[in-house]
């Protein structure tokens, strides 16, 4: 059957007749790769430009529609030796990069102004103790004002806007005291300059903005990096579907481009791309990603199947349906909505600090002014001193204390294979005291593995594994993974739903169902146990049966033990049968487990834990886990999880190991400790500086030194999160 590739959903028409597409490219490692891909593509007729972004591992291609199309470009890259996956840029990413550019501009302006104002300020400080005339000092102050005022008006916008937003919502965030401090420092300085005073605070205000912008930019840069990485992963993982067009032609297109009513062909071994009703064909499907159930379900015409299931034995044709009322997916969506609505907005540590901080500081400033007035100072002096208190307490260190740690911790997690969706997940991860695991695909590997049986000759196993390379059946895939020789037997034929056969050493070898290999089922019944599936191999009179079953992640036991050691309560909540869950829980030493749960029951368990005052970390991958992930305080899901599920997880982890779960908890706890230390450092700084300010002893020089020193101190302290924590491998 002819098969065409339809990539139109990724193609962007920039000019009439010319198109543009972005692709995530796998396997680019060096300068040679860039040249090979770019030269190879620009040589093609019709390609206008190809540019590989090495940092993002993304390729931008422009071409003329008349001469070449997207599918031929993807094929050309494959011929050059790389795999390219069309990429649909997400809105968030575009927003992020626009915001990063804006912040960088603000940073540049603040940096320029800070340097030049400092140049003038140091001259004034030196002049004040030597022979500078009052006129020159005033000139320098006016020049500082000329630089600092427009620069602060421009570079301070990110803070002013956020502060206004918070005030409109009748809330306080860190940006409120920052904005107030900057505005007051500048206003006071202009007034002092106009009255020919000795001190002005232009440098403090602008330096504060510069430091804070550095922190904001680094924070955003880290988020962008993880988002880009996640975006590439999503496009590499993106599922393709085979749509049957009216003429019977088969079109391969991204699953996201399917519409309700399309007819889709799902071959054995493929994942079901969309929810739908089976029109024709019979097969068994593996719904472990949907419900957690590891036993296969038999389906035939009229059955409803869900995206994410794997088709095991026969080809199915289905009609794509929108999620209808009463289906599982509909139920999950309804539960999700409720779970998200019920999730109380947790107050972040930084905002909690700000809420505590702002009233105290403002009250202190007011009391200082009143105190000086009572002590007999002039109103002018009293107000100047009160404003000096506000400037010195301007929360530079406090505002950097938490973001700096978040950036460093997110980087450490990223290197450890954990991709965070948001910075505040770190705080919630650190609070977790109960870990709830899903079983299928979370504690166990997402795809079944060959059960290493001792009684099969290595030679027979190798031949069976090599034959399995020619099959797309999931059981054969598990067997094929163990093959040493990676080339399939020539002339191997796959009989859909039955098995695969080939001539090996002059005799026919067969791999597949027992019947296909000419063996009675009776022989198998004796060995059938638990949740294993079997695949039979027959060659030259020898018959071997391989068991394939869900196996635990390699380090699951070690990670569970390490989590327990750290005082976390553990629990397994699974949608699978009790007799499949019990052995897993027992092998891992998890005493509390529940099986056969529906999504609603999972939420109920989590709600009960919540009402007992526990902070639940939920780790799950199935569609049935999505509401539970949203309901839990914090959630993790493996990269193999269903789309809905990943979207509701606070972080996603990569690889076949469970260690990232432990790493996430360890790094988060360490990060929270550092955040608290940083807040304490900021508090100590204030405890030292505020009495000086209240006493009226703070000069601009002292303000500048104190602010820079405290900012550096908290940043350096945050860098300690980079130190490798002791985590099991």
């Amino acid at each position: 059957m002819a098969e065409t590739l339809d990539l139109s959903m990724f193609v962007e028409r920039r000019q009439p007749g010319a198109s543009h597409m972005t692709l995530a490219v796998e396997g680019v490692a060096c300068a040679g790769c860039i040249r090979k891909i770019e030269n190879g593509l620009t040589k093609l007729p019709g390609v206008i430009d190809a540019r590989l972004n090495f940092t993002q591992r993304r390729l931008a291609v422009d071409w003329r529609d008349a001469e070449i199309d997207a599918a031929r470009i993807v094929a050309a890259i494959e011929r050059i030796g790389y795999r390219a996956h069309p990429f649909a840029p997400e809105r968030v990413e575009a927003d992020d990069s626009a915001q990063a550019k804006r912040l960088l501009k603000c940073l540049a302006v603040a940096g320029f102004a800070a340097m030049n104002v400092m140049l003038l300020s140091i001259s004034v400080w030196a002049g004040n103790v030597s022979d500078m005339t009052a006129e020159t000092r005033d000139l320098f102050h006016w020049l500082s004002a000329l630089i600092a005022l427009p620069a602060a008006a421009y570079a301070g916008q990110p803070f002013f806007r956020s502060a206004l937003r918070a005030l409109r919502a009748r809330q306080l965030n860190m940006d409120v005291p920052i904005s107030l401090g900057v505005a007051l420092a500048l206003g006071l300085s202009v007034y002092e300059t106009a009255t020919h005073a000795v001190h002005a605070y232009f440098d403090s205000a602008i330096m504060l903005l510069f430091f804070l912008l550095c922190g904001r930019y680094l924070d955003l840069a880290m988020r962008r990096k993880t988002r880009q990485f996640a975006g590439n992963l999503a496009s590499i993982k993106a599922e393709f579907a085979h749509r049957l067009d009216g003429s019977g032609e088969l079109v391969r297109l991204p699953a996201a481009a399917l519409r309700a009513g399309d007819r889709v062909l799902v071959r054995p071994g493929e994942r079901v791309p969309a929810d739908g009703a089976v029109i024709s064909g019979t097969s068994a499907i593996d719904e472990s990603l949907v419900t957690g159930e590891t036993l296969h379900r038999a389906v035939s015409a009229g059955a409803t199947i869900y995206a994410g299931s794997i088709n095991i034995s026969g080809a199915l044709t289905l009609r794509v349906t929108a999620a209808g009322a009463g289906t599982l997916v509909d139920e999950v969506e309804r539960l999700l909505e409720r779970a998200i609505a019920a999730k109380s907005q947790t107050v972040r540590l930084a905002d909690r600090a700000a809420r505590l901080y702002a009233p105290v500081v403002h009250a202190t400033a007011a009391l200082t002014a009143i105190g000086w007035l009572v002590a007999g100072a002039s109103p002018h002096d009293a107000i100047v001193i009160a404003i000096a208190v506000l400037i010195i307490t301007c929360p530079c260190a406090l505002a950097l204390a938490i973001p700096a740690v978040q950036v460093v911790a997110a980087g450490a997690l990223f290197r450890g294979g954990v991709i965070l969706n948001g910075g505040d997940a770190i705080e919630r991860l650190a609070e977790a005291d109960t870990v709830v695991f899903d079983k299928t695909g979370t504690l166990t590997l997402p795809d079944p593995r060959l059960d290493e049986a001792a009684d099969i000759e290595p030679g027979v196993r190798e031949r069976a594994a090599r034959l399995a390379l020619s099959s797309r059946h999931p059981l054969a895939t598990a067997l094929a993974r163990t093959a040493c020789e990676r080339s399939p037997y020539p002339g191997a034929v796959e009989e859909p739903g039955q098995g695969v056969r080939a001539l090996v050493d002059g005799e026919e070898a067969r791999l597949g169902s027992a019947a296909f290999c000419g063996v009675g089922d009776a022989r198998l019944e004796a060995t059938r146990a638990g949740d294993a599936s079997f695949i039979t191999f027959a060659h030259a009179g020898k018959i071997a049966t391989f068991a394939v079953r869900q196996t635990l992640r390699l380090d699951a036991a070690a990670v569970v033990a390490a989590l327990k050691e750290r005082g976390l309560a553990l629990m397994v909540l699974s949608g699978d049968r009790p007799d499949a869950v019990a052995p897993v829980a027992q092998a891992l030493g998890i005493e509390t487990w529940q099986a056969g749960l529906t999504p609603a029951e999972k939420i109920a368990v989590i709600a009960r834990l919540k009402s007992q005052g526990r902070h639940v970390l939920m780790v799950g991958d199935g569609i049935n886990d999505a509401p539970a992930l949203a309901a839990a305080r914090v959630s993790l899901s493996p990269i193999t999880a269903a789309h809905v599920t990943q979207a509701h997880a606070d972080a996603v982890f990569l690889g076949e190991h469970l260690a990232p779960v432990l790493r996430a908890v360890v790094v988060a706890r360490q990060a929270r400790a550092l955040m608290r230390q940083n807040l304490a450092l900021a508090a100590i700084y204030n405890a030292l500086a505020v009495p000086l300010a209240i006493a009226g002893l703070v000069t601009p020089l002292i303000a500048a030194v104190a602010m820079s020193a405290s900012s550096l101190l908290v940043t350096l302290n945050a860098l300690r999160a980079r130190l490798r924590p002791g985590v099991v491998a």
Partner: protein, 50 residues
């Protein structure tokens, strides 16, 4: 101190030139692919092959 009359504007001008250069480089996309710039310098296919 009369020297300040042209030294101060000169200093500011220099600073502004640096700022303008940075903003230009940002706008022309020079920070879009930092790792790429480091490796793109390596292939020497612009040399005549002898």
């Amino acid at each position: 101190m009369n020297v300040l009359i042209y030294l101060v504007p000169l200093a500011l001008l220099l600073g502004l030139t640096g700022l303008a250069a940075f903003l230009w480089s940002l706008k022309s996309g020079q920070y879009d692919d930092l790792d790429g710039a480091a490796v793109r310098i390596l292939p020497d296919d612009d040399l005549p092959s002898s």
